[in-house]
C-alpha cells in the first residue's frame, strides 16, 4: 500500500463515519458561554495554589466537575474503550496485585472522599501580616472587578496563605477567594486571585503540564499572560509574571463549589479589568523575594534518558517541544510509556483509591520517595511510578506490567539527570 492508496482508503473510511448532526446554534451557544465565562477557572484556588508548590514537585488534586457542555450520553475519558485512554483497549483479564517487597510500604486502599475533589483550603495563618495581605488582595479584586460593590461580598468567604520551602527553592504564595453574586440570582460564583514568588508561568511550567489542560501564551488587553485552560472543566486561568518577578494569577468560576450547588449565570468582567488585577502592584508579598524559575525538562531529555537507561534499541517514541515540553511518550518491550517532569500533575501524597488501583506502595530510594500504583483494568491497567525528587516530581505510566519491570521503571524515574 502506498501513500496514495492510504489516502483513498482513508477517504472511503471517513465517508462512512456518521458524524452527529449538531445544530450550529449549539456550537454558537457553547462558544458564547465559553467566551463570557472563559475566566471562570474551575481550578480556582487549587490551581492557583499550584503556583506555589509546583517547583517542589508537589501537586494539587484537581477540582473535578462535570462538563455542562458535554453531549448527553457522552462518556468521561476514563470510560472510553479503545486507544483513547492509553494506547490500547481497556485491559481484560485478572487484576494485577503483585507481591509487596520488603522495602515497600503499602498505602491502604480507600475511597476518595468528597467525590475526589480537593478539600477546602486550610484556614489562613492568623497573623496580622497575613490578614493585611489578604485584605489587600480583596480590596484590589473588588476595586478592579466590582467598583460599584454589586457583586463581591465584603465578607471574607475563604482564604488561605501558604508558604513552602525546599533545599534550593523557596516558594510563598497567598491566595484569596471571594464569592461573586449577580443581582436577582441565587447562585454564587468565585473569584480567586493569587500572588506568588514562585515558579514560571510559561507553557512549560505551572499548571500547563497537568493533564487535560491546554496552554497558550497570549495577551489580555495588552498584558502578556499565560492562559491555561482545563478542558475537563471548560475553564481558564490567567497567569502573569510581573517585571518584579512575582507571579499573579486570576480565575473566575461560575460555581463556588465549596459553598453552593447553584452557579451564577456568568461573571461579566472585561479583559481590561482582569489585566488591571494582574498588574496591580498592591498584589505583593513583602519579605518573600521572587524565586528562581527552574528549567523545564525538554522532551528530548526525557527521551534520551529513557533510551540510556532502558536501552536505545528498545525505546522508540515521540518527544515534544514548545508548550508540550516536559513530556515524552514511547514504547519499550511492547509497553507504552508516558514520562513527564510531573509539573502540576503528580503527587505521592494522595490516597490509594480502590476504585482505580489494586495496590499502592511507596519505596525509599536515594533519589527520594517513589510511589507505585498498580492500576485496575478499568483505569487502563499497568502501573504509575512517581518520584518525589529533590527538584521536581517525575511521573511515569507504564501500560503493561509485564512489558517493563517495576525496578527498571524506578531506575528510570530516579535517574539524576531528570533532577538536573
Amino acid at each position: 500500500m502506498n501513500e496514495h492508496d492510504l489516502e483513498d482508503r482513508l477517504r472511503d473510511l471517513t465517508d462512512r463515519m456518521d458524524s452527529p448532526a449538531v445544530a450550529i446554534d449549539d456550537d454558537l451557544g457553547r462558544g458564547r458561554r465559553h467566551r463570557t465565562v472563559r475566566r471562570r477557572a474551575a481550578i480556582g484556588g487549587a490551581a492557583l495554589a499550584t503556583v506555589a508548590v509546583v517547583g517542589l514537585g508537589a501537586a494539587v488534586a484537581p477540582t473535578l466537575m462535570s462538563d455542562p457542555d458535554k453531549p448527553s450520553g457522552a462518556t468521561g475519558p476514563s470510560e472510553q474503550a479503545g486507544f483513547a485512554g492509553g494506547g490500547g483497549p481497556t485491559p481484560s483479564g485478572p487484576e494485577v496485585t503483585p507481591p509487596v517487597a520488603e522495602d515497600e510500604t503499602v498505602i491502604p486502599l480507600s475511597t476518595v472522599e468528597n467525590g475526589g475533589r480537593k478539600p477546602p483550603p486550610s484556614a489562613v495563618d492568623d497573623t496580622p501580616a497575613d490578614r493585611q495581605l489578604l485584605r489587600g488582595l480583596r480590596v484590589a479584586v473588588s476595586g478592579h472587578l466590582d467598583p460599584a460593590g454589586d457583586h463581591i461580598s465584603q465578607a471574607e468567604v475563604d482564604s488561605s496563605a501558604n508558604g513552602g520551602s525546599s533545599t534550593e527553592f523557596a516558594v510563598s504564595s497567598i491566595t484569596q477567594s471571594l464569592g461573586w453574586t449577580n443581582p436577582g440570582e441565587d447562585g454564587l460564583g468565585m473569584v480567586t486571585v493569587t500572588v506568588s514568588n514562585g515558579f514560571g508561568v510559561d507553557c512549560g511550567g505551572v499548571g500547563a503540564q497537568a493533564p487535560s489542560t491546554i496552554c497558550s501564551e497570549t495577551d489580555l488587553a495588552g498584558t502578556e499572560v499565560t492562559e491555561v485552560e482545563d478542558t475537563s472543566t471548560q475553564t481558564t486561568t490567567y497567569y502573569h509574571r510581573r517585571a518584579d518577578g512575582y507571579v499573579t494569577g486570576i480565575a473566575l468560576q461560575n460555581l463556588y463549589g465549596n459553598e453552593t450547588s447553584t452557579p451564577v449565570s456568568g461573571i461579566d468582567v472585561t479583559d481590561e479589568q482582569l489585566a488591571a488585577v494582574l498588574t496591580d502592584p498592591a498584589l505583593d508579598l513583602p519579605g518573600h523575594p521572587a524565586a528562581v524559575t527552574p528549567d523545564v525538562l525538554h522532551g528530548t531529555v526525557l527521551r534520551d534518558v529513557a533510551r540510556d537507561v532502558l536501552g536505545a534499541d528498545e525505546v522508540s517514541g515521540e518527544s515534544w517541544s514548545g508548550d508540550l515540553a516536559g513530556y515524552w511518550s514511547g514504547t519499550v518491550f511492547g509497553s507504552e510509556l508516558s514520562l513527564n517532569d510531573g509539573r502540576g500533575n503528580t503527587t505521592i501524597d494522595g490516597p490509594c483509591d480502590q476504585a482505580y488501583a489494586t495496590l499502592c506502595v511507596t519505596r525509599e530510594t536515594e533519589a527520594g520517595t517513589v510511589r507505585i500504583d498498580y492500576r485496575r483494568n478499568a483505569a487502563g491497567g499497568g502501573y504509575d511510578v512517581t518520584l518525589d525528587g529533590a527538584h521536581r516530581a517525575i511521573w511515569l505510566y507504564v501500560t503493561d506490567v509485564d512489558g517493563l519491570p517495576v525496578d527498571e521503571a524506578i531506575r528510570l524515574v530516579t535517574d539524576p539527570r531528570l533532577q538536573g
Partner: protein, 171 residues
C-alpha cells in the same frame, strides 16, 4: 448584540457549517471513539469562538483547530488515573454500549494499532493532506520526526492489512 458580535457569529457559523463533519472525523480517527470525538470538537470550537477575532486575523483557523484537537486528545491520553473520575456524583454518566460500525473495517482496526504519534501523523498528512512541514508545525515536532513516523506508520499498516488479507484467504 453589537455589529461586531453579529459578524463574529456569522463568520463562525459559516466556518462550522463547512468544517464540522471533517473535524469530527479527524477527532474520531485520533481518539477512536465517536462520543469522545464529539467532546473534543466541542472543546475545540468553543476555544475557536472565544479566540475568533485573534485567530481569524493572524492564524489559519484550520491549523488552530487541528492543533486544539490534537492537544485535547493528547491531554486526555496523558491523563493519570488519579484525575479520572467519570460518572462523578451521578453526573456525566456512561453512554450505553453500542456497536461500533467501524469495527469491521480492516483499515480502522489497523489504525487503532498505531502508536498515537503515528496515528496523528497519518491523520494530518493523509486525511488532511498536509505537507511534512505543515504537519510538523501542527504537532510541534520536527519534519524529520514526521517523516520517520510516517514511514513507521505505513510499514505497520502494510503489515496489518496484509495479515488481515492473508487470514481472509485462508478461511
Amino acid at each position: 448584540m453589537g455589529r461586531r458580535d453579529e459578524r463574529r457569529d456569522a463568520d463562525f457559523s459559516e466556518y462550522v457549517a463547512s468544517r464540522r463533519a471533517r473535524l469530527h472525523r479527524t477527532a474520531w480517527l485520533l481518539c477512536g471513539d465517536r462520543d469522545q470525538a464529539e467532546d473534543i470538537v466541542q472543546t475545540a470550537l468553543s476555544r475557536v469562538y472565544a479566540s475568533w477575532s485573534r485567530i481569524s486575523r493572524v492564524d489559519s483557523i484550520d491549523a488552530y483547530v487541528r492543533r486544539v484537537i490534537v492537544t485535547t486528545h493528547l491531554n486526555e491520553k496523558r491523563r493519570p488515573w488519579r484525575r479520572e473520575r467519570a460518572g462523578l456524583d451521578g453526573i456525566d454518566a456512561a453512554a450505553e454500549d453500542r456497536a461500533d460500525p467501524m469495527e469491521s473495517d480492516v483499515l480502522w482496526t489497523a489504525l487503532r494499532g498505531l502508536a498515537p504519534g503515528q496515528r496523528q501523523v497519518v491523520v494530518l498528512r493523509h486525511y488532511w493532506g498536509l505537507s511534512v512541514d505543515e504537519t510538523a508545525a501542527d504537532l510541534g515536532i520536527s519534519p524529520g520526526t514526521v517523516k520517520s513516523q510516517t514511514a513507521a506508520a505505513l510499514a505497520h499498516l502494510r503489515t496489518a492489512l496484509a495479515l488481515t488479507s492473508s487470514q481472509g484467504e485462508h478461511r
